[in-house]
């Protein structure tokens, strides 16, 4: 196994048993899976990827967190602290060189949100020098978990303070992208047949035979993570690794929420139809329909932007498109040419080329403000508060601090937005005696 798989998996000692001819026998995922109820983890252990995980990598309990952040963070956080640290440490020791932690969880529930952010803090304590990149799935406004605003805001404070980078994802955006692709696939118009396995919702090259309900949406997020790590796994003329992403896209420690977009969504099967031009791929990356959260970076202010290009695309294509798109975008005054670019030679499975855009942009503000609104609506009435305050380790200050952390964050974005309207003038240069 070359560099590519070694990144995410390692060879299991003593070789794997299991089905012959399986591509994944002998590999173990560099992962720790945590859930406070057993259903999902059991499925993993019985599913087609079961060989990737040994049971010690899975940490679970029986009753779940009841959609209660405090239960996840404080109760389970204390009970399972040792075990989690132990497993993570073991996985870390198997690495030649540990570059980054990917922490993946939702914000609206109790375990992912509560225990997930506890794990985040723990990683910061135990491995302070290793980058922590969080993929956080935010609930939509129509979320059916009543307490999701509490859970999300309580978790956000932890993310703001302890994560290096956060990639917020909204379920609604994933749903919209999936419908768009399925609509395209089913229009039956000539020339609209999509090439097999070439969409970002298919588990291209994946192992699963039948599709489960959230598979399409989850595949989008999986593809996001694949694209972010492509430079670490494959060669290219301009490498962009995870540490560089954190370095270039985070100008101020708390402002580390990056909006992501993936293009193209699919490739057409009919080779006689001219392929959507390369330039269209760039344009799409900035359109609000391709973002993985409901945000419109094009009509807000950029602090920084990264473009990761994969496949048979040349430097001149990249430069031409940056030149073309720059005038249509607003960048903060001190970073008018704030682009970080990467070129990886190997495209994703099923595509000839692809583009991942990561934006540090004030367009996250509306989503955060909505979240705060939903939180305040509940908090004002003290609705469901007792479920939280009854948990050992949780008190009212936790809520008020989380709220003020979010408010502070929103204010920081507002301040940046206000600089956008002021006429830009270079600050005076350093004066030296001649």
């Amino acid at each position: 196994m070359g560099v590519r798989t070694v990144c995410f998996c390692r060879r299991s000692d003593g070789g794997g048993g299991g089905a012959t001819g399986s591509r994944i026998s002998g590999l173990r995922a560099r992962a720790v899976l945590v859930d406070m109820e057993e259903g999902v983890l059991s499925e993993v252990l019985q599913g087609p990827l079961r060989q990737l995980f040994s049971t010690t990598q899975l940490i679970s309990d029986v009753s779940g967190s009841g959609n209660n952040w405090a239960v996840g963070h404080h109760s389970y956080g204390s009970v399972y602290r040792e075990q989690i640290v132990d497993q993570v440490r073991r996985a870390a020791e198997q690495c030649d060189c540990l570059q980054c932690f990917f922490i993946i969880h939702s914000m609206g529930g109790g375990t992912g949100s509560g225990l997930g952010t506890r794990v985040l803090k723990l990683l910061e304590d135990e491995f302070p020098e290793v980058c922590r990149l969080v993929t956080a799935v935010y609930p939509s406004a129509e979320d059916d978990v009543i307490t999701s605003p509490y859970n999300s805001v309580l978790a956000m404070r932890e993310l703001t303070e302890h994560a290096d980078c956060v990639l917020p994802i909204e379920n609604q955006s994933l749903v919209d992208i999936v419908s768009k692709i399925q609509h395209m696939a089913h229009t039956g118009k000539p020339g609209s047949v999509i090439k097999k396995d070439s969409t970002i919702i298919s588990g291209q090259g994946g192992v699963a035979k039948t599709e489960k309900p959230f598979d399409a949406m989850n595949n989008i997020v999986a593809n996001l993570l694949l694209n972010i790590t492509s430079s670490a796994r494959f060669e290219g003329s301009l490498n962009m690794d995870l540490n560089e992403i954190a370095m270039n896209l985070v100008p101020f420690p708390r402002l580390h929420y990056l909006v992501s977009s993936l293009t193209p969504l699919y490739t057409l099967a009919d080779v006689n139809i001219p392929t959507r031009r390369l330039d269209q791929m760039f344009t799409d990356a900035f359109s609000k329909d391709h973002q993985l959260m409901r945000a419109d970076p094009k009509h807000n202010l950029y602090l920084a932007c990264a473009l990761m290009l994969r496949g048979n695309v040349q430097l001149s294509d990249l430069r031409r498109n940056i030149e073309r798109l720059r005038p249509t975008l607003s960048f903060v005054q001190w970073n008018t040419e704030g682009w970080k670019t990467g070129l990886c030679s190997v495209p994703p499975v099923g595509h000839t080329h692809s583009l991942l855009a990561l934006a540090n942009n004030t367009c996250v503000k509306p989503s955060f403000m909505e979240l705060r609104e939903r939180f305040v609506r509940l908090y004002r009435k003290k609705a469901h508060l007792h479920h939280y305050l009854g948990v050992d380790g949780m008190d009212v200050s936790g809520f008020s601090e989380a709220l003020s952390s979010l408010t502070g964050l929103i204010d920081q974005y507002s301040q940046l937005d206000s600089t956008n309207t002021a006429p830009s003038q270079d600050p005076p240069r350093l004066n030296i005696a001649c």
């Binding site: 060189c97 570059q99 003329s237 490498n239 101020f252 920084a304 430097l315 001149s316 970080k340 350093l430």
Partner: protein, 442 residues
């Protein structure tokens, strides 16, 4: 006399192999035995089985680029890199100068020094050390600066030349201007001279002159390698008129760097065209030299789009006035002519004192090297290494953008966490403003 090349970071390890390939191919050909011997000795050593090994040390904080460079050279069957001549780590420098300079540099100091020492000791005589790096990223810039410092300490008398690739103005790396400022301010003290290539300029050469439709990084690197090769390949010089000079770097430095305040060297080379056009072009020396002179005074880096209206001021007016007329004043120039009938070329127009600052002795301002051997497939080619105001504007832009960012303190936390403080930044800005001022007032 041999040159030891130190390739640093992704850029250095991508341009380096192109340079070695270029000089190898150029030295191969009929009727150029002494040229070939001199060139080979300068850049390669030979194993007992007759394999040519590059006199090069490869350093990077991640392994992929070095692996590619080493593999490609081996596959060529023509030359290769030394088996133990490289040093790499796994995690990269994250585009962070402070991480490169304060963490990786010191951590791996001994390993890198050992590698360089081995290469230097292998040379009969050391002509100089040629360090290649970019200024935008974290390893080339940060580790590169630290390594240059180590080399300076190890070899206080040796000539150290740094080749710097400056990034595209519209970003490749967001913190590129910070990394550049930190690099340039320190290298200025450590290095004997800084030879600069700008990606923007080379890109234009590729698109307009060489007609490359889809320009890749490889194309950019080949042009840079061509230009560097045209300077570093053997030539007859002032000090060594009938044998190929054995002290090319020393002579280059004494021709161009008369004062430690002025170390920025730019490079241009004509003609440049696609290989398919080569066969159909014929140039004369007077034609080439006329273009090159105008390129110098109008600060054009390629032979297209030259502003012929710019002229040499007849009187030494104040620099502001001459600056506004677009005139590029020089401290010193070194011209290298290669190819057919090279002895018939008349470079007198470059000796005009009006091109230069008046406070330097006139016989120290212009130097001419030549070689009758055509370079890299060009029947005639002319290179000009200039110590002039030509890099002033790009440098000023770089400092302006870095300063803008610094005033808002953006990204500071990324540097301070590795040990580079705001005061360190201020020191760097001060140094560079000084350099900008010096060049502006030529």
């Amino acid at each position: 006399m041999s040159v030891v090349t130190v390739q640093l970071g992704q850029c250095g390890n991508q341009i380096g192999p192109e340079l070695f390939s270029t000089v190898y191919e150029d030295s191969t050909g009929a009727g150029r035995k002494t040229y070939q011997e001199s060139s080979r000795e300068r850049f390669f050593w030979e194993t007992s089985d007759g394999v040519l090994v590059a006199r090069s040390v490869l350093v990077d904080m991640e392994p992929k680029v070095i692996s590619q460079a080493v593999a490609k050279a081996s596959k060529s069957g023509k030359w290769r890199y030394g088996e133990k001549a490289h040093f790499c780590q796994k995690q990269g420098s994250g585009n962070n100068w402070a991480n490169g300079y304060c963490v990786h540099g010191p951590r791996h100091k001994e390993s890198v020094e050992d590698l360089v020492r081995r290469e230097v000791e292998r040379c009969d005589r050391l002509a100089g050390i040629f360090a290649m790096m970019s200024v935008a990223g974290g390893t080339g810039s940060g580790v590169g600066t630290f390594v240059t410092q180590c080399l300076r300490d190890m070899y206080p008398q040796a000539f150290i030349l740094n080749h710097l690739t400056w990034p595209y103005g519209t970003g490749e790396v967001i913190v590129q201007n910070y990394n550049s400022v930190l690099t340039l301010s320190r290298l200025y003290q450590l290095s004997d001279a800084l030879v600069v290539h700008e990606n923007d300029t080379v890109h234009k050469i590729c698109s307009r002159l060489m007609n490359i439709k889809h320009i890749s990084i490889g194309d950019i690197n080949k042009v840079i390698a061509h230009q560097l090769g045209s300077v570093l390949q053997p030539a007859y010089t002032g000090d060594s008129p009938s044998n190929y000079s054995r002290n090319p770097i020393g002579e280059l430095l004494s021709s161009l760097v008369c004062h430690p305040e002025y170390k920025l060297l730019s490079l241009c080379n004509i003609p440049q065209m696609s290989h398919t056009s080569l066969a159909y072009s014929a140039y004369t020396w007077p034609g080439l030299l006329k273009h090159l002179r105008q390129m110098l005074i109008a600060n054009a880096r390629m032979e297209e789009g030259i502003d012929w209206k710019v002229c040499v001021p007849s009187s030494r007016g104040d620099s502001v006035r001459t600056g506004q007329m677009g005139f590029n004043r020089s401290l010193a120039n070194l011209m290298i002519l290669r190819g057919k009938d090279v002895s018939s070329a008349d470079a007198g127009a470059f000796k005009d004192p009006a091109l230069y600052v008046p406070w330097l002795p006139p016989d120290g301002t212009f130097s001419l090297w030549n070689s009758p051997v055509p370079f890299n497939g060009y029947e005639k080619s002319a290179s000009l290494v200039s110590n002039s105001q030509s890099l002033l504007k790009p440098l000023d832009n770089m400092v302006r953008k870095a300063w803008n960012m610094f005033v808002s303190r953006a990204y500071m936390h990324q540097y301070t966490k590795f040990g580079i403080s705001e005061d360190d930044f201020l020191d760097s800005f001060t140094t560079l403003e000084q350099i900008i001022s010096s060049y502006s007032h030529l």
